[in-house]
Symmetry: none
Subunit: 229 residues, 4 copies
């Protein structure tokens, strides 16, 4: 079942804030501010954070903060933008191609595992962001819309591609694709939510082990048995 897989520690993946091109146009000052904001907001939430503290954390005055980001909400959005673009791009897309190109040797299992691994690693690396910021963000219409329109479709279509490819190879039971995607995503998201919110309750088994188990359960259900019962 296991993988004997590459990554030593998922949390060591090089996910860092502001290293992709979608952030190119930020000044160093803005970068500092966003990093400070991330620190503060992660710890205290959006409403719980004070612009004064963010400014101090960044070593500038509040006036400067507001010259760079016209409102507090704008800070949150600026913080989320690169994150969201990161969430949906690299591996997500890469994985799809990987799947399509790698058409032999348990490809679906490996692909799903890799997708999970990658996304979970991203969330672990961005723990503070996902744990707090995203929750905060969901309450703000602007941001929820952003996610709804830009992120969710991308994710869905990426995963759907993977499943399409697998189904084309006969690896999948006949089932509604959207539902299957949703269940896959539900599993990952639910796992993340649970493990972030109540880590103690969930025991100490590693992400790797859990990923193996989740993929195992998902796969063998997805692939089969509907006829057997």
């Amino acid at each position: 079942m296991s993988v004997g897989n590459s990554e030593k520690d998922l949390s060591e993946r090089p996910w860092r804030l502001f290293d992709d091109e979608s952030v190119k146009d930020l000044t160093p000052r803005q970068r500092d501010l966003l990093e400070a904001a991330l620190r503060v907001m992660s710890a205290k939430g959006f409403d719980g954070s004070r612009t004064r503290e963010i400014a101090k954390e960044a070593g500038v005055s509040e006036a400067t903060l507001f010259k760079n980001f016209p409102t507090k909400l704008e800070i949150l959005m600026a913080l989320l933008r690169p994150f969201l673009s990161t969430v949906i791009r690299p591996t997500m897309i890469a994985s799809v191609k990987q799947v399509i190109e790698a058409h032999k040797g348990a490809p679906l299992e490996e692909t799903l595992r890799e997708i999970m691994r990658d996304r979970i690693a991203l969330f672990r690396a961005r723990g503070p962001l996902i744990k707090t910021l995203l929750l905060e963000a969901i309450r703000h219409t602007e941001i929820r819309d952003m996610i709804q329109k830009q992120v969710v479709p991308e994710i869905f279509s990426a995963v759907e591609s993977v499943l399409d490819a697998a189904q084309a190879r006969g690896e999948l039971a006949q089932r509604d694709r959207r539902t299957t995607v949703r269940i896959f995503l539900s599993t990952v998201i639910g796992y993340l939510a649970l493990s972030e919110s109540f880590p103690e309750q969930l025991g100490a088994s590693s992400d790797e082990v859990e990923i193996d188990a989740m993929v195992g359960i998902l796969l063998h259900g997805i692939q089969g048995r509907s006829e057997k019962t």
Copy 2:
């Protein structure tokens, strides 16, 4: 796989706020206030809600609000308390007994379906609560502790009982029980989160259909194949 099931519309189940005994000791005024608070906080979140607005929504003065609930946080907790006690009691426990007593005829499948059905119906009926309040609540240590200590263990042990019974009947593949439980819960929670947060994105298929699909996938994975493929 099929449904042939009773409930036409899950959202018509009679889950209502404050109808269980754990709330008997609320005055009508307090009930009004909590209902108003639920409305406001659901729409605007905890920090985003103003006591003044809650009071107005309930048709009383702020002073009256604070005479009934000494702090704003206390309102949130009073709101959550009956909800949490409802989450973990009725069907959750009932299901367990059901499983243990019904030892023939696809019992696990039906039990899991029923648990999902029941919990999802509860969440649908309490939509506002889950959609916002619970998310809000999680940020407050007092409430997170409450959930962590009182709710999570109950839920886990209830589901574990079901699985134990199934395993005793040979219906389950050999797997770490806690992980399996977690995946089951992850699936449900992830589904709820997704469907509440981004309903449009997820299509319009009914909860019933989704439940069938989820159970199907979960079961056939859980039950088998780990030796196969």
Copy 3:
């Protein structure tokens, strides 16, 4: 210098609240309320006291409190009224007559001593009142007027009578009478203020000793008499 005088302990004099006729028209309920109010206000001051607490201390509802005293200030005034009438009547007047009738044997010295003794005993017995209530009360115009118009003149004229009598007997240097009265009163009031506000700073010598010293100095001066003259 000393007196070998009667009173064992000044603080045992029977000054009690509400035992004089000026209070006859209070109902028992009102008496309870005033006693409760005295306790609370003495401890916390006027502004610091809550009508709620006073009512609870008296074992009645706030509504009842307000049925008996239409405003909070009215409570304070009701509290002060019997006190003030006590301050200026009994011994004050008695002393005057005493002086006038006792025209032999160091009368002035003894009279002053007795006045001091009596007033100090009263203040000691009513410690809470003087210590806090009076200070509070002075801030309220209504009460300051009450004192200014009813109490101060009485006190002055009483002491003036004593001095007049002494002067008639040649016991007094020629001096402005009002000034002398004021200095006498200043001495007593200053002593009380000091000893109530900063008791530790003033050492532990008894009122009796201090009274002797004060009378001694008043009569003969710092430079005079104790043995030197």
Copy 4:
């Protein structure tokens, strides 16, 4: 009896708020605020004063007020601090040296007179402060402690020095020094309390005349000196 003394009008002495070095570190804005606070609090007392009014009186917003003084109590303390430091410093100490250095020519009488003069002038100049603020302040433990620990001992020891010097020169009757000090202070404090609280009642004689009388009585007693002794 009289003095032929310098000061025409005691109240013209240059005691002003915030002109000593202990206040150097106040910004002009803070100075404005404290002056406004003094005006308002003098008129209405501490509890009776509204931060809103203080701010308006100073011509700034409440927000500005609270940026300068983090709490309302802090305003009171800032107001009292320079006052208290003034009370105990200049002449108080100077007088001591004066006494010790001036060892001939009615030194005690003149010294006491000068101390009284100086302190009374200070209180007159700071009338509003003493009349209300100090009374208010005494109710706050922090401030009472401040006075008890910093001010009272200084005052006592200063006056004691004067008396010690006089006694060394044989100008004093043998008496307990602390008691004598207390009586001296009682006289001054009582005089101030009376004259501030009930000025009309006390006639219109000037401070100078009263000081002469008080010193006369303190030194020689009611019975003494004016033509007798």
